[in-house]
Subunit: 553 residues, 2 copies
């Protein structure tokens, strides 16, 4: 057959931004966002996001600029996932738990033109900007004042932002034009979001995902989780984690209600489930721990779907969570894949198995989702697929429409993990096996990464801080299993011999806390005369992990 | 931000064909197809489709060849939706209700290399091939013998296909290699399916849809209908109608069970729902009529989702269908958009309204689905959007990823409806209005089309047959409303004056039946001395439609 070329009617770029316009027609007066005493409808959210995009345009934001956000899951955070890219800008969500130094590095690296700052992060951001070199322009700031957060309002009254902030968020929204013509991408490959996965002491790794990538992740996330129309989603997953795995856009697609929250514990979760009839929530396994470790709660009335990723839920946590009326689904993805690309598709016959067996099966990451083209586990030396025996380890490699465009301003690192010349696959750095039934199981996330409470911690970043300590000779940081957090960083330290005064464990930890975001600092320090090494001088981290694991916590 | 280019890991072509491989892993031993005494699992369906593709390759089918299928919704029909494109070929499903002449025209126009023929259509296809000019090669034939269809087997015993058929379907599958490496598209814009929308007397219009278009329609159809995992779908929608709106691929994505059937009436439907726990079905409104007009049936135990398109379900049909436990959703699409692109998103508050009001709202086609970029109703003269008043009519125009690549071998007709130079939209030919709430309502499908029992009938095709009658002077064919079929063709005929012997209504109908597929022949013929015309001589079809409508049926 003669080839027909793409035409004007079918080659319009894929983008999730149009979902909002549709939601305003299809779910007009239905609730879009609920937060304390704040309630918006889809029609209102549509108008507010257009206003937001309009105001961004008014203050000089143009196609291709980067706009950053430092905020928890409050309503503005949701709106910004639409409003920023609707102005043509690239959205850069920043983890609120970073320290001023890291924040400064990322804001400089991203060349942010404007930052939306939650009021509780304002002093942090101002400090970060003070660390900018004199010859680099600092971004404009908009203050997210949270009038609806009673607790925060009383503890941290913010003075009018006359000096540092160009406007408050609400003022900014109000000044915008709800009839603004939002800026459509010229190509579906245009960048839409930028998400940093590291950046304290090592080179910042800014993952760039296109409109097409986000679109594909959004539809994939809806289908894979079988999300019905008008679900009620409790935002226990930080949106700054890979854009809440694309569910902000997914909720607009299905007209869901977003239950926003600033921070939470088990009783907040139970209360909100009860109050709003929550049907869905996502989160790191630490959220499951939270739910399942509270002895005081009765099972929820209607089943709540909970989707977790990052690390498999431990068997007792899984059993307890499910006994409380939650339906757990487990998946795997990276910031570099924009969300979950492999998930543990559940077979009905498995429901008949005993708890422990069900937990073992559910702990596996699973099979490719429909948005992924290929997933495989390959031998690092030969590049061949490993045996499907559940034993032979190899590196997890992927190919699919949601894979990032690359790391921002880092072609070298980009081509290190996406080797276009050879097999063209994305190398995740994670180690896994394939079971005889084709299900993938991760045995070791990327050697360098410790996952604590859903946050990825680069062990090399922690190590490089420790090396700056004057008494430290050699260090290795590994993950130590933790009942609650999943893992915490554990540092093995050998000291320089010439000094007689030895630092204490607490002193080392304090040293790190002063130089790293708090969650990245080691929780445990083990002094050792010498670190175990291979014949070629490489530290044998697997031995250290065994030691860390064996310690009574 | 610097632009990053698509890379080897994320620019792999979108295609639904990989869903099958995934289904074999994720839904291994779960049922894929059920038909009389036949049952397949997803693992078996995966292997059978690979074998099919392998055998096609063995008999010389290559990338870009067209392979046709003339079959009802039996298991091979399902398998062929994967097997044919997995061989690299373009899949051309042909309506089983066509006559030999039309079939011959389509097989020649499509340049089919091979045709899969259901045993009940074998004499028809052989007749069609006998109509080929001597200098045109006829395609190879594979016979779909249906050993599992008791009724058919007894009425139409087929002799071994030694002469005309190269193989039986089962033989063909068995000879194939289940380890065949299926042929992936080189580009997601490569053609995947070819579906004819007309072709008897007027030029064949062969709609070409790409792998990308089918992928987008498939995910769109799943999300818009909120299809859960492992639904049970009763195949009351012919797969040869725009590939069953892409649900063959959708069922593989969610691991559904496909309940196949050769033909059906209300009692078949009820029995299969009961027997297999059917949860989902699609069909033209005639299927709703069937369900709702049977007085003997009790409401179904569990709600059955039923999706309809083509024409809005009439209020009493809707009310009765819903009272029987069916949940009706209504959408709009064309073969040219590969399925439903606009649907009547239902608002919870509408559930409180009286039946008649709910029916009025549900009769509207609705809002764009998430797979569509734009839908609008524009004034044909000015190209401007019409007022959103529910009254001002205009032409429905669309833009979105599922729009066809064009009509096969007909660049003129393609560019007539997709005017890339001007606004770049696809012009549907359908006439609609937009209500103040943004919901679209079709007032008139393309002037030229009559929809009878879910089949599109081109009135100009019927007219041109009537014009070949020696006694006919002038004709106009319009739709006449029909309780059961929705519409039937009604011919207004003026006769030549010089003849005194007038034909009867029956003679005219017989004349058409001899020259057209049976369903296309007029059901009513009205003789008229002169047809009403405008001052410029155009037949005023709207007046004829009024007359047709007013006739007691």
């Amino acid at each position: 057959m003669e080839l027909l070329l793409p035409n004007s009617a079918n080659s319009c770029p894929l983008t999730t931004l149009g979902f909002l316009e549709r939601a305003a027609s299809a779910y007009t007066d239905c609730p879009s966002i609920v937060y304390n005493n704040t309630r918006y409808t889809w029609s209102e959210t549509h108008r507010r996001c257009l206003r937001l995009a309009s105001s961004l345009s008014s203050v000089g934001i143009e196609r291709g600029h980067v706009v950053s956000v430092v905020a928890p899951n409050v309503p503005p955070m949701y709106e910004l996932q639409f409003g920023v890219p609707m102005s043509g800008a690239i959205l850069n969500n920043i983890n609120t738990r970073l320290d001023a130094h890291t924040l400064s590095v990322l804001l400089q690296h991203s060349e942010s033109k404007l930052v939306f700052v939650d009021h509780l992060s304002s002093s942090l951001v101002l400090e970060a900007l003070s660390l900018f070199p004199l010859d680099i322009n600092t971004p404009q700031l908009v203050l997210i004042d949270d009038a609806d957060d009673d607790a925060a309002a009383s503890t941290a009254p913010t003075s009018p932002p006359t000096v540092d902030f160009i406007d408050t968020y609400e003022g900014f929204v109000e000044e915008g034009d709800p009839k603004f013509k939002w800026v459509r991408p010229k190509s579906e490959w245009d960048p839409m979001v930028l998400n940093y996965t590291s950046g304290t002491t090592s080179a910042p790794k800014g993952v760039v995902v296109s409109h097409r990538g986000i679109y594909m992740m959004t539809v994939n996330s809806l289908i894979d989780w079988a999300v019905p129309h008008q679900p009620v989603l409790l935002w226990t997953l930080p949106i700054f984690h890979a854009n809440g795995w694309s569910y902000p856009w997914g909720m607009a697609a299905v007209g869901g209600t977003n239950i926003c929250l600033r921070k939470f514990d088990a009783s907040t979760i139970y209360n909100l489930i009860k109050k709003h009839g929550v049907s869905h929530m996502c989160g790191a396994p630490v959220v499951l721990n939270m739910i399942s470790s509270s002895p005081n709660f009765e099972p929820v009335k209607n089943p709540v779907q909970i989707r977790t990723a990052g690390a498999p839920p431990p068997a007792p946590v899984l059993a307890r969570t499910e006994s409380l009326g939650f339906v757990v689904s487990h998946g795997y993805g990276l910031t570099e894949t924009a969300g979950i690309v492999v998930s543990c598709a559940w077979k009905p016959e498995w429901n008949e198995l005993p708890d422990s067996e069900r937990a073992r099966l559910k702990a596996r990451q699973g099979v490719k989702t429909i948005g992924l083209t290929d997933v495989d586990v390959v031998d690092r030396e030969t590049g061949e697929s490993v045996k499907r025996d559940g034993l032979t380890q190899g590196e997890v490699v992927l190919r699919g429409a949601t894979v990032m465009m690359g790391y921002f301003k880092d072609p070298e690192e980009s081509s290190r993990c996406i080797n276009g010349d050879e097999d063209g696959l994305f190398y995740t750095g994670d180690v896994g096996v394939v079971h005889p039934d084709g299900y993938l199981e991760i045995k070791d996330r990327s050697k360098d990464v410790i996952i604590s409470g859903g946050e990825n911690i680069s062990s090399s970043e922690v190590e490089s801080v420790l090396y700056s300590h004057p008494l430290v000779n050699e260090v290795a940081v590994v993950a130590r299993p933790d009942q609650f957090w999943g893992e915490t960083p554990c540092a093995f330290v050998s000291l320089k011999n010439e000094f007689t005064q030895k630092p204490t464990e607490e002193e080392i930890i304090e040293f790190c806390r002063a130089r790293l975001p708090r969650y990245m600092a080691p929780r445990t320090v083990i002094f050792s005369e010498q670190l175990p090494k291979t014949s070629t001088g490489k530290v044998q981290k697997f031995l250290l992990r065994k030691i860390a694991k064996s310690m009574i916590s």
